[in-house]
C-alpha cells in the first residue's frame, strides 16, 4: 500500500525558509536561557538512584517489571571476539555466529535469578529479541527481531515459537523494532523490511495470543518505523520517520492508516526521527526523538513534540543545550510533565508539561568500559534501551554498554507537590438557603482536611460535609488538605452569597389562584351571556363598540408606554431635580498613547478645563522596574499630584494578579477611585464571543476585590456597568455590596434619552449612588459630539448625579477623544458655569 502522509512543514514561505536556521539557533539559545531560569511552576526535586546492576554478556533491548516485582530483560548475547590477524598488528572482529537472544530474570533488587538463551531453533537466523511481555500465566512472550514470536513458561523455557511473515531482507532493514501486547491480549509487532526494489517497507502485524496472524499490513512511501503503542480507543499508533521528518500515524481497527502526520523542521538535509511515543493525559501524545541539524554541525539534538489526539502539533522543543544525543524513551508523569531518557548517556531528564527542563539525573557511570575486552575492540558505548515506570512510582532504565547491560532502579520523585483540592460545591454563586453542602475532592490521600469559612480558623472535617447555618450575605470558603509527605494544599477560594429564599411557591400559588378565579369568572359571565340574551343586532352593536373601545385602549396603552420610556429623559434634559448638588466632570486619559514628555502638559490642560478626575488604564510592567510604561505612569502620577487631580484606575476583566499587585503596591496610594471590572455583564470570557458566566464574573470580582482590599487603599471602589445589567441584574446587586458607588456607561447618542430609566433602576436595585463613568463617544462630527456631550452633562446634572466621566481625552480613534476639538472648549465652558 502506497501511502502519502499529510505533511505539516513549518516553513510557510521561501523567505521564512532562508531565515529558519537562524531562527532555530536563536530558539535554541533562548531555550538554554529559559532552562536556566527558575520555573514558576511547582518545583520537584530529582529522585535518587536506588541501585545499579550489571549483567555481563548481554546487550539489552528492553525491560519490563514482572508481576512479582522483579524485572525481565531481553536482548542478545554479546558477540564473540575473534582475532583475525596477529601481525604486524593485532586485528579483532566481532563474530555473531554464536549470538543468541537472551532473557534475564531478576528479583526486585536486580539480583539475577535466571538467564535463558534462545538460538536459531526458536528465533531463526536473527537471534535477537527486541521486546518482552509477561503473560497471564506468568510466562513470557519474546518478540524476535527476525519476525518470531516465542512463548516461554515462567522459568523461561520455550513452550512454542511462531515464525511470522517477516522474511524479506529483515536483517538488512532492521527487522522487528518493537512489539506490544494490547489490552485484548493480542500482540502487535512493527518493523522494517526491505522491499524488492530496495525501498524500505514498514511492516505491521497483529496476532492473537497463540501467535496466529490476525492481520498483516505493509506501508511504503519513504516511511521507517521505530515504535508502537496502543491508543485509548484500543487501536495502535506507530511512529518513526518519513524521509527526513518526524512521523506519527494512527492505525484504525482494520489495520489501515487512519491518519498520518509528519513534522518537518529545518532544511531537507536535516533529518529527524521519532524513537518513542507516549500517550498523554489530555488524549494526545508526546513524541521523543532526535534531530540531526546541519546548523548544529551535523550533531544530534534531542527533541520533544507534543501533539493532540488528531496529530496536530501543540509544541515542539529541540534541546539544543544537549548536543550529540537524542531522546530514546519518553513517558508522562502524574503532573503532566515528562520523563525522557537520553539515547547515548545514562541521563534522565524531567520536564514540566511545557517541555521546559525541571531536573536531570545521571543514573550510572558507564564510562569505564569493559576492561576484559581488547582495547582494539569497540563495542557500542552506553545506549539507553528502555525506560519503564515501576510499581512504586519510581523508574527503571536498562541499557547496554560495552557488552554489559546496566539495570538502574531510580526512586520515586520526592513528593513536594501539595495535594490538589477541588471544591465542587458550593460554587461562586448565590444560594437561597443557609444549609449549603460542601463537596470536594483531594487528588491524593490526606492525613488532614479542613476548611476556613470567611477567613476564620480551620474546621477539621473527614469528608464531604454540610456547612453550618450560614448567615445572609457574602461568604468565602477555602478547603485545605495535608498529604502524607506533609505538603499542604489549598483549594481555590470560593465566594458565594446567601440571600432570602425566593418565594417561588407563592408565585406559583398566586398564578394558579389568579388563573382559576379568572377562568371561573369568565365562564360565569359567559354562561349568563348565553342565556338567550344575544340578539343579532345587539351583537353587532356591541362588536362595533368593542372595536372602538379596544382600539382606543390599545392606543392609550402605547402612548402610556412611550410616556414611561421617554418622559424622564425629556424632563431631565430641561428641568433640574437637584441642581444644588455637587457635580464633577472626569475624563479618561489614554496616556500610554502619548509621548512621555507630553503627559505632564496634558494633565495640566485637563486640569485647566475644570475636570477634576482622570480615569486611566492599568499600565505597567511588573517585571521591569524602569520599564518605559512604568516611567510613563510615574510621570502621570507626578503630574496628577502636582495639579491635585483625582485618579480613577480601571482594572480590566482579564488583568493578572501580579500586575494588579505590582500596580497597587507602586501607585495605589495615589488613587482616589478603583474600578473593579468593566461591564462584567457583557464582557467576553476567554473564548471569543462567550460572556462571563455568573460564576466567572463573581469569582473574578471577588478575586480582584480581595487584592484591592489587601492594599488598604483610601480609594473608593466602583464597577462600571453597561445597559446589559438589566438582564443580569444579579451582578450589580451582588457587587454593590462591596462597592462605594456604581458606574454606568452611556455608550451612544441614541441611548442618552433612555439612560435615566436605566440609571434609576441601577440606583434602585443597588441602593448606591450612580456615577456616569463612561460617556461621550460620538460620531466624527465635532458639533454633534459637542452637543451630545453637553446635553448629557445637563441631563446627568439635572438628575442629581454626582458626576460624569467622559471617554476619552485622547484616543487612537480620533472621533472618540475631545482633545483639540470643539467639545474641549464647550466642556470647559459648561464646567465653568455648572460644575
Amino acid at each position: 500500500m502506497k501511502v502519502k502522509p499529510m505533511r505539516v512543514r513549518f516553513k510557510a514561505s521561501s523567505c521564512m525558509r532562508s531565515n529558519f536556521k537562524s531562527t532555530i539557533i536563536v530558539m535554541l539559545v533562548a531555550l538554554v536561557v529559559v532552562a536556566s531560569i527558575p520555573s514558576a511552576q511547582a518545583f520537584s526535586e530529582a529522585p535518587t538512584v536506588e541501585w545499579n546492576k550489571t549483567y555481563n554478556e548481554v546487550q539489552a533491548n528492553s525491560v519490563i517489571q514482572t508481576a512479582d516485582g522483579g524485572y525481565a530483560i531481553v536482548g542478545a548475547s554479546t558477540p564473540t571476539i575473534v582475532i583475525i590477524q596477529h601481525s604486524p598488528f593485532s586485528l579483532y572482529s566481532l563474530d555473531y555466529t554464536n549470538q543468541t537472544a537472551v532473557l534475564v530474570k531478576t528479583n526486585s533488587a536486580g539480583e539475577l535469578q535466571w538467564k535463558k538463551s534462545y538460538g536459531t531453533e526458536v528465533l531463526g537466523y536473527n537471534r535477537d529479541a527486541v521486546s518482552v511481555v509477561q503473560t497471564m500465566d506468568s510466562g513470557y512472550v519474546l518478540f524476535g527481531r527476525g519476525g518470531y514470536l516465542v512463548k516461554t513458561d515462567a522459568e523461561g523455557n520455550v513452550q512454542w515459537s511462531r515464525k511470522l511473515a517477516l522474511d524479506v531482507n529483515a536483517t538488512v532493514a532492521g527487522g522487528v523494532e518493537a512489539g506490544i501486547q494490547t489490552s485484548d491480549g493480542d500482540y502487535v509487532l512493527v518493523g522494517n523490511i526491505m522491499g524488492s526494489n530496495g525501498e524500505n517497507v514498514v511492516w505491521l502485524l497483529k496476532t492473537n495470543e497463540q501467535g496466529d496472524i490476525l492481520w498483516n499490513k505493509t506501508f511504503t512511501g519513504g516511511f521507517s518505523v521505530r515504535t508502537v503503542i496502543e491508543t485509548n480507543d484500543r487501536r495502535c499508533a506507530i511512529a518513526g520517520r518519513w524521509r527526513n521528518d518526524f512521523w506519527f500515524a494512527k492505525i484504525d481497527s482494520n489495520s489501515n492508516l487512519q491518519w498520518s502526520q509528519t513534522y518537518a523542521y529545518g532544511d531537507a538535509s536535516d533529518s529527524h526521527s521519532v524513537s518513542s511515543i507516549a500517550k498523554t493525559n489530555d488524549g494526545g501524545y508526546v513524541l521523543a526523538g532526535t534531530g540531526r541539524w546541519q546548523a548544529s554541525g551535523g550533531k544530534n539534538i534531542p527533541w520533544l513534540i507534543k501533539i493532540n489526539s488528531q496529530g496536530h502539533e501543540q509544541w515542539s522543543l529541540p534541546y539544543g543545550h544537549i548536543p550529540s544525543d537524542g531522546f530514546n524513551s519518553v513517558m508522562q508523569t502524574d503532573d503532566d510533565g515528562y520523563i525522557v531518557a537520553l539515547s547515548n548517556s545514562a541521563v534522565l531528564i524531567r520536564t514540566h508539561s511545557s517541555g521546559s527542563e525541571q531536573w536531570n539525573i545521571t543514573y550510572a557511570d558507564t564510562s569505564g568500559g569493559n576492561t576484559s575486552l581488547p582495547s582494539q575492540v569497540v563495542l557500542p558505548h552506553y545506549i539507553t534501551a528502555s525506560l519503564i515506570r515501576t510499581s512504586d512510582g519510581g523508574y527503571a532504565v536498562v541499557g547496554p554498554a560495552f557488552g554489559t547491560t546496566w539495570l538502574t532502579k531510580i526512586s520515586p520523585e520526592p513528593d513536594v507537590s501539595p495535594p490538589v483540592v477541588s471544591i465542587s460545591n458550593p460554587k461562586s454563586k448565590t444560594y437561597d438557603t443557609g444549609e449549603v453542602p460542601l463537596t470536594f475532592t483531594v487528588n491524593e490521600p490526606a492525613v488532614w482536611i479542613g476548611y476556613s469559612l470567611d477567613g476564620k480558623d480551620n474546621v477539621i472535617i473527614a469528608e464531604n460535609a454540610t456547612l453550618p447555618s450560614l448567615s445572609k450575605g457574602a461568604h468565602n470558603l477555602t478547603v485545605y488538605a495535608e498529604d502524607i509527605a506533609g505538603n499542604i494544599g489549598a483549594s481555590e477560594t470560593i465566594y458565594f452569597t446567601i440571600v432570602d429564599h425566593f418565594p417561588i411557591e407563592w408565585v406559583a400559588v398566586s398564578v394558579v389562584i389568579v388563573a382559576v378565579v379568572g377562568v371561573g369568572l369568565l365562564l360565569r359571565f359567559k354562561k349568563q351571556a348565553l342565556r338567550g340574551r344575544f340578539k343579532k343586532q345587539a351583537l353587532i352593536a356591541i362588536a362595533n363598540n368593542n372595536i372602538v373601545r379596544t382600539l382606543t385602549m390599545i392606543s392609550l396603552c402605547i402612548m402610556l408606554v412611550l410616556v414611561q420610556i421617554f418622559f424622564p429623559g425629556f424632563y431631565f434634559s430641561s428641568a433640574s431635580r437637584n441642581s444644588s448638588g455637587q457635580f464633577e466632570v472626569g475624563v479618561s486619559y489614554v496616556y500610554e498613547q502619548d509621548k512621555v514628555g507630553q503627559i505632564y502638559d496634558e494633565v495640566s490642560r485637563i486640569h485647566d478645563l475644570g475636570i477634576t478626575i482622570i480615569r486611566v488604564n492599568m499600565m505597567c510592567d511588573p517585571t521591569e522596574l524602569n520599564d518605559y510604561l512604568n516611567s510613563m505612569t510615574d510621570i502621570f502620577f507626578a503630574a496628577t499630584q502636582r495639579f491635585n487631580m483625582r485618579v480613577a484606575l480601571v482594572i480590566q476583566n482579564k488583568e493578572d494578579t501580579d500586575k494588579i499587585q505590582y500596580y497597587l503596591n507602586r501607585w495605589g496610594k495615589y488613587l482616589a477611585y478603583v474600578q473593579i471590572l468593566n461591564e462584567p455583564e457583557s464582557a467576553s470570557s476567554w473564548d471569543v464571543g462567550a460572556l462571563f458566566t455568573d460564576d466567572e464574573a463573581i469569582s473574578k470580582f471577588e478575586h480582584v476585590h480581595s487584592i484591592v482590599m489587601q492594599h488598604n487603599l483610601s480609594a473608593q471602589l466602583y464597577t462600571n456597568f453597561g445597559a446589559g445589567f438589566i438582564v443580569r441584574s444579579n451582578l450589580p446587586i451582588q457587587f454593590s455590596e462591596k462597592l462605594d458607588f456604581v458606574g454606568f456607561d452611556v455608550f451612544m447618542e441614541s441611548f442618552l434619552v433612555l439612560s435615566p430609566n436605566f440609571i434609576e433602576l441601577l440606583h434602585k436595585i443597588t441602593n448606591k449612588d450612580v456615577v456616569i463613568t463612561e460617556f461621550g463617544m460620538s460620531a466624527s462630527n465635532d458639533t454633534v459630539q459637542s452637543d451630545y456631550i453637553i446635553r448629557g452633562l445637563n441631563l446627568f446634572k439635572n438628575m442629581g448625579l454626582k458626576g460624569c466621566w467622559l471617554v476619552y481625552w485622547n484616543s487612537a480613534n480620533s472621533y472618540y477623544g475631545i482633545r483639540g476639538r470643539l467639545a474641549e472648549k464647550t466642556v470647559g465652558e459648561w464646567i465653568a458655569q455648572n460644575a
Binding site: 389568579v514 359571565f525 351571556a529 373601545r549 392609550l556 410616556v563 434602585k764
Partner: protein, 147 residues
C-alpha cells in the same frame, strides 16, 4: 352638588379599592424586586416582568370587573380582564413615574400617599368606564345606572 356626591360614592369606593390594590402590589413588587432579579438570572427578570405586567394586570382587571358587577350590577365586559387591568396599571404607573421624576421622591411612602389621596375619584371613573358592561335586565330600575 349633594346629588353628584351621592352618585359618586360608588365611584370613590371603586377608585379607592383599585388604587389601594395597585399600591399594595407595587409595594410588594418593590420589596421583592431584588429577590426576583437574583433568581436564576435572567429568568428572575422574566418572572418579574410577567408578574408586573401579567399577574398584576390580571388581578387589577379581574378586580375591576368584580367591582363593576357588585357596585353597578353590570354583566359582561367589553375588553378582556387582562387588557383592562394592563390599561389601569399603565395609567397608574405612568402617573406615579411622572410624580417620582418631578418630585424626586421614592414611591414608598410619599408617592403612594399622594396616590391614595388624589387618585381614587379619577381611578373610580377610569375603572367604571374603561370596561363598561351591560346592566342586568333585572336591575333596570336601579339607581346606579350608568350615564
Amino acid at each position: 352638588m349633594l346629588k353628584t356626591l351621592k352618585l359618586s360614592k360608588p365611584v370613590f369606593i371603586h377608585g379607592v379599592i383599585l388604587v389601594a390594590t395597585l399600591i399594595i402590589i407595587q409595594l410588594l413588587l418593590d420589596a421583592f424586586e431584588n429577590s426576583f432579579l437574583l433568581y436564576m438570572p435572567p429568568i428572575g427578570f422574566a418572572f418579574f416582568l410577567f408578574t408586573q405586567y401579567g399577574i398584576q394586570a390580571i388581578v387589577v382587571g379581574t378586580l375591576n370587573i368584580i367591582i363593576l358587577h357588585r357596585l353597578y350590577k353590570w354583566e359582561d365586559w367589553r375588553t378582556g380582564f387582562w387588557f383592562n387591568g394592563l390599561f389601569l396599571l399603565l395609567v397608574f404607573s405612568t402617573i406615579t413615574l411622572i410624580l417620582q421624576t418631578i418630585t424626586g421622591l421614592p414611591f414608598a411612602p410619599y408617592i403612594a400617599l399622594i396616590a391614595i389621596l388624589v387618585l381614587p375619584y379619577p381611578f373610580g371613573y377610569l375603572g367604571k368606564f374603561s370596561n363598561r358592561g351591560r346592566k342586568n335586565s333585572q336591575q333596570e330600575t336601579a339607581t346606579t345606572s350608568p350615564p
